[in-house]
């Protein structure tokens, strides 16, 4: 076992356990905390793939900004585990079975796929560095970049209008 494999196994186990606990936790605040663990594990994967810019942006945007927003909203609402109504047991089981079937179908579809055995380059390759990504972003992808700024502005205005009191 090389160091890369050990790191991959550790980060994958962390991500999967965190994801399971996000779904299982009764308390919404605990779910947010476990989701932050998942995001850290996924950022570790990005850094292992030498996609440094995406790894840092994932940490700043997801684990930093979005999760704080979730925590604020949960704490504003004063939710507690006892008042959360539980779904019917059979409906829950049906949901788990449906998800399991999706997992089974996707894994089975990959059994003889020709992409198997290809190597994803870890630790080498410099396309994930800020210099190269920035050059591509401001030459080839400059139109979607500007459009996304308009999207952000409209989202900001929309959030302010929706959240306004006394409509």
């Amino acid at each position: 076992m090389t160091v890369t494999q050990i790191l991959f196994g550790f980060l994958s186990a962390l991500a999967l356990i965190g994801a399971l606990l996000v779904v299982i936790s009764k308390n919404a605040v605990h779910s947010v905390m476990w989701l932050i663990v998942v995001f850290f594990a996924i950022s570790g994967h990005y850094i292992m793939l030498n996609a440094q810019f995406i790894g840092i942006v994932n940490l700043i945007v997801y684990a930093g900004a979005i999760m704080v927003l979730f925590l604020f909203v949960i704490m504003l609402m004063n939710l507690n585990a006892t008042t959360e109504p539980q779904k019917n047991k059979w409906l829950k089981m049906a949901g788990v079975v449906a998800g399991g079937c999706l997992l089974l179908v996707l894994v089975a579809a990959l059994k003889n796929a020709e992409v198997r055995g290809n190597i994803a380059q870890t630790k080498d390759g410099d396309i994930g560095l800020i210099e190269n990504l920035g050059k591509a972003l401001f030459t080839e992808f400059v139109v979607p970049f500007e459009i996304s700024s308009v999207l952000f502005l409209s989202a900001m205005v929309g959030a302010a209008v929706i959240g306004k009191k006394g409509d």
Binding site: F8, L16, L35, A65, I66, V115, N118, A120, A136, I162
Partner: protein
């Protein structure tokens, strides 16, 4: 690292997100499970971009950079979506004092 390990990891994360959306009733948790699915897709995009880069780096030094930029744009759209979605959830909580999605199936109160 072989690409199929990344594919299996992403499939597992995505399916956990699907199960969460199907089994939970709290609107905020459903939102978090959607974020989980988005992240599974992002991880797969980055892994495939590095695979493509390794296969084609001799002919094109920037091969596979598109995948990482797509991930960047997905993050941008996800951030905008979360801000609007949480505003909608807060407004809904203000009106019906609950975040249970089963109360929302009539789209009015």
């Amino acid at each position: 690292m072989q690409i199929e390990y990344y594919i299996y990891l992403s499939i597992a994360l995505f399916c956990i997100g699907v199960v969460g959306v199907l089994t939970r009733r709290n609107a905020i948790i459903i939102f978090m499970c959607i974020e989980l699915m988005l992240n599974a897709a992002n991880l797969l995009l980055v892994a495939f971009s590095k695979m493509h880069h390794l296969a084609n780096q001799a002919t094109n030094a920037n091969a596979g950079i598109d995948g990482q930029l797509f991930v960047f744009f997905i993050m941008v759209v996800a951030a905008a979506e979360v801000s609007v979605g949480l505003a909608i959830i807060v407004m809904m909580y203000r009106n019906i004092h609950s975040v249970d999605v089963n109360f929302l199936n009539r789209l009015k109160h």
